[in-house]
């Protein structure tokens, strides 16, 4: 308790001793000098009489001023408890700083050649501008929104003003200002530190922001005083003079909602709330129609809450001015319910454990929305309950770690490389099934019957509709033509889709030619390889490049997307099935197998067989624009509308065999 009290006294005295604070004794002294100057030179008071006028008891010991002192002392204690519970500027800055890595694809440092003082200067100025502008905005909101005015009004009930009136603030408003400072400082810190690195620092004088130091030395404390100082018409369009702020406190209706600015007047100028100081104008401070006891602590601290509640119930605060429309909570309520529903759905989804031994357990790399329709169809057909563990990566490691204890019956994944991983790690059981053998062509299943393809995806070329010479592209090989230099987009070569394509090139043309092709394509790239297939189409839409290689279903997803913007991306390109005059378009697969340690192998095989049935094969086309592997099933109407094509007949297993070789090609090229 003693320590708490000492801390309190320390903080209170810090207000006078810390140059970062408004009422630092040095600033008070400079204000006094200015006030004396005004009294002696402008008001023609003698130097001996001037102090008596400045320190008049009627001002400094009025009921209003005494309330200021009490509020300052009480607020210090309140804020000691509240401030540590508010989110810190560092926490917000760190969040922003981290998010910027994703937004900007890393951390591109800029202005590397700039000297340290320039960086510090830029940071100091930007921070000041942001700080001053947001103070203006918040201050304006405090006047404009009835609910906020109930609290801000406390400051305006001051009828005499001293520099300590700056502390006449309701704690609710203090919290709002603290959060504003948090946000502003966090944005400035995160942005500058992210782009300019550790060269960023604040330019200070005695630890205070240099600009605010100048502002305070120049008599900021006279804003809350009875000393009238005007800067003149021109300067008062740029800087708020003490007189302008005194006008802000005036009870005269002509002065209401004027001069919200702190340091700069430009915000008021731009916001049409600027009021210039008039010579010799008498001003009375306060609020018209104030409560009977505006300086009582009960009124100061509690009355705003009562009024706020009354205001919410339909009654009005004293002086509301509409600037923005009132808050409408209806959409918030709607979105809240939606969020709650989504959270419940997630919780529900997450509770799929506790499966019975009669259930079928699937480990799936395929996303739930893609696989759920199959599950539902199978469950309906058989009455079997299916449990799914979904993960984009790491399922093979999990299966490996679980060993014979694994509950998995079926593994579903995409791409031969990933299927091969399961087979290579001996995580799949060989399956003997006449149905699978009949429904899946030999080149689309493992010679050892451990994995099976259930759908096919073609690696197609998309070309911007604006690129008229795009019609000339007939094959993957055409993309190495120098005329495409700087016009092709691609995801990284090591991605399994591209590596499989290179494996198919090695198979058909040999490693040397495959490397020449990869090099030629790489040399023609418009940008560093990045993003997924969808991002390549977007890049074409944005004019970054004209050509890209993608899996066909991405085109379908974009074309039928619920997001209008994505439909525009798809509309910007046309599809080419390459190598129709030669070996055919490269295809890859999605597929799966029976987990080696499945306790329910028979059921697992039955499920795989179901995936090759006409019902399921049609689903692949309708849900995800993939081609059926079962020759007896036709592609979906949507797929047929894109045209038929000849596919590369290379055995899919061969792609897995050639993958290490393909990776070496990619490494040598640096794609």
């Amino acid at each position: 308790m003693d320590a708490l009290f000492v801390d309190y006294v320390d903080r209170l005295s810090d207000q006078l001793l810390n140059p970062q604070k408004r009422v630092f004794v040095g600033y008070l002294a400079s204000a006094l000098v200015l006030a004396l100057g005004v009294r002696v030179f402008a008001a023609r008071t003698t130097l001996l009489r001037a102090p008596a006028r400045i320190f008049s008891a009627g001002v400094w010991w009025s009921r209003s001023a005494k309330a200021d002192y009490k509020i300052a002392a009480l607020n210090q204690a309140i804020m000691m408890g509240v401030a540590p519970r508010l989110i810190s500027q560092l926490a917000v800055a760190t969040l922003l700083f981290e998010a910027m890595h994703v937004w900007f694809g890393g951390r591109p440092l800029v202005w590397l050649e700039a000297p340290g003082w320039a960086v510090a200067g830029a940071f100091t100025v930007v921070l000041f501008l942001l700080d001053d502008a947001t103070k203006y905005l918040l201050h304006r909101c405090l006047h404009a929104w009835p609910l906020l005015w109930c609290f801000h009004k406390v400051h305006h009930t001051a009828e005499t003003m001293t520099p300590f009136t700056v502390y006449r603030t309701h704690p609710v408003e203090a919290v709002l200002f603290a959060l504003r400072a948090t946000l502003v400082q966090a944005v400035a810190m995160a942005a500058f530190f992210f782009f300019l690195g550790d060269r960023v620092e604040l330019m200070t004088v005695f630890g205070a922001n240099v600009i605010l130091f100048v502002f305070n030395v120049a008599g900021s404390n006279l804003r809350h005083s009875h000393v009238w100082i005007s800067y003149g018409r021109v300067i008062e369009h740029v800087l708020i003079s003490p007189a302008q702020h005194q006008i802000h406190h005036s009870v005269d209706p002509r002065h209401h909602d004027r001069n919200f600015g702190t340091v700069l007047a430009i915000w008021d100028w731009m916001g049409r709330s600027l009021c210039l100081a008039e010579r010799g104008h008498e001003i009375r401070y306060g609020v018209t129609g104030a409560a009977p006891e505006p300086h009582g602590l009960k009124t100061v601290y509690l009355e705003p809450f009562r009024e706020a509640v009354a205001g919410l119930s339909g009654l009005r605060c004293w002086r509301p001015v509409k600037m923005f429309s009132s808050l409408n909570f209806r959409p918030l309520r709607r979105s809240g319910i939606a969020i709650l529903a989504a959270a419940l759905a997630i919780v529900f989804e997450a509770t799929v454990s506790g499966a019975s031994s009669q259930d079928l357990n699937i480990y799936s790399h395929r996303q739930p929305f893609l696989i759920n329709p199959f599950i539902e169809a199978y469950e309906e057909q058989t009455g079997v309950t299916i449990n799914i563990v979904f993960a984009s990566k790491g399922l093979a490691q999990r299966l490996q770690a679980e060993g014979p204890r694994s509950p998995a019956d079926v593994v579903l994944t995409v791409d031969i490389a990933r299927l091969h991983t399961y087979a290579d790690k001996d995580l799949l059981a060989p399956v003997e099934s006449a149905v699978l053998t009949k429904n899946i062509p030999p080149r689309l299943r493992d010679p050892g019957n451990r994995w099976f393809a259930f759908s096919k995806r073609a690696r197609v070329i998309v070309v911007s509709k604006k690129a008229e010479d795009g019609f000339s592209i007939k094959s993957y090989e055409d993309l190495t033509d120098p005329k495409w230099k700087g016009r092709i987009c691609a995801r990284p070569g090591s991605h399994v889709y591209n590596r499989a394509l290179i494996a198919s090139l090695i198979e058909s043309r040999g490693e040397e030619e495959a490397q020449a092709w990869a090099q030629g394509l790489f040399d023609n790239l418009a940008r560093r390889p990045q993003g997924n297939d969808r991002a390549q189409v977007k890049a074409i839409y944005e004019g970054v490049c004209d050509v890209a290689i993608i899996n066909n279903y991405y085109y379908g997803k974009l074309k039928r997307s619920d997001i209008p913007e994505q439909r525009e991306w798809a509309a910007a390109v046309r599809l080419i099935f390459p190598n129709q005059d030669g070996r055919g378009t490269h295809v890859n697969i999605s597929g799966g197998g029976v987990a080696r340690h499945s306790k329910n192998k028979e059921r697992a095989v039955h499920f795989l067989e179901f995936l090759t049935s006409e019902t399921a094969q049609k689903l692949y086309g309708s849900i995800n624009f993939e081609y059926p592997v079962n020759p007896a099933v036709e592609p979906s109407d949507e797929l047929k509308s894109w045209g038929t094509f000849k596919e590369d007949q290379m055995p899919i297993a061969r792609i897995a065999e050639l993958a290490p070789q393909a990776q070496r090609v990619i490494d040598r090229v640096g794609w």
Partner: protein, 474 residues
Amino acid sequence: MSKAITAGTAAVTLALLSGAALADDMVYAGFPVTVKGYSGSKTTSVSYTGQIARHVLHDSLKKLAGSGNGKPNPELKAKMMAYFGGKDAGREIIAPATKGPFAISQSAVDDISKGKNLSGKTFEAAVTGMPNGMIGPELVEFWIDKASSADKGFDKDNGYDYPQLISKYVMGAVFYNQAADGYLDEYLSADKKPNDKPYKDGAAYTGKEHSWDEAFGYFGTPAHTLKLTPKQVYGIAKRKSEAFADADYNKDGKVDLRTEMTFGPAYYAAGFDASVYDRSNGTNYLHTITKAFLDGRKLLTDAKGEKLTDEQRDRLKRHASVITQNWEKVLAEATFKYAGSVYKDMVKLQTITESNGDPSKQFRKYVKHWGELKGFALALQSGKNNLGETATRLNRLIGAGPLLLNASQVVDIDSQGNYVRDQGPDWGEYMLHMAKVQKLMIDQFGVQARNNDVTQEMQDLARSLGDRSSAEND
């Protein structure tokens, strides 16, 4: 003048004599034989040469791992295996070796202890942070195989620095694991290696004394550590000329690796302490750990060869707890530090590549730092406690390989031992992973030294902006 010199000399002499009088209490040496009925000729019960031999094997293995020429080299692999798994006589000490005036007494591993290897003492749990669930010795052997055919231990295509991976991991899987999970844990039970019996027949030390000494040996700090500053202990590991006098405690003109040298774990503890000794976040890992070892050893000596009471064992366990907790924090500090290094390397690499510069030199540093990060992250998981979710998060954030300049990353190892790569996370996302690794180290281990803190400058900047605890109004 002459009187002044005499007075000064007397003062210095007095100070040195006082120091000598205190020396015994501050040095981990000379503890007497307490074994009942001991009939041998030894006058001290302190012995941890087997552990020092393993430090030497580790240092030598690291050196060998960086000596390949980029082509398959069965001879090099066999030599590395001799230092990892072999026990044969005749192995020379490849590192640490004499360096200029920093003369080292021993030149052969057998000069320290015979028949020792590392593989037999490597943590045998599955390493979940790498593909295929290899256990510790299998992972090191896998890396040894790769290192033998790499160019100076560097695998450019996959982004691995094998000397760093092997070294940092062994620091955890052998030294930290043996101490924290063995000698300072199960060996402190009442029945295991009791104090009223010799460690083995005819030994000059009791079961508990030797177990404690062996843990101390794995920490790898000079016996006279408490007479040195962390900076001096750090300098000894670097074999700097000026560090020779600090190391040569018995003033015989040579550094005895058995008692006077700094090895891996102590080197890092000293390094962190030295890096922040003058700051508010100063740490004292080295002296805290060493003092706990010393206090525990005094307790054992004071037991005079009797079986430890429960109260004595509880006190000993408290010392052990201080050691393991601080040791774990040192590993967490190292993980933190190298996550920061990797992050900073990535910023530099991005700057270089965006200006079409040659990133090869910076890439080499990046891979080295990533190897250190990965090695230490795996080492941290080699203690007696399963780190559970923390380990899972750590392994997922770091991945099985660094994100490479072509946006790929090793994601698996196939049954032939080939690395399998796939498209990795975006560059910025992986940078963010490093920042998250640092946050994880703060949240879970309370690291304080925080070398290479990614957001340190922003924290300093936040401080310069002041607090918001006052309510002001305009």
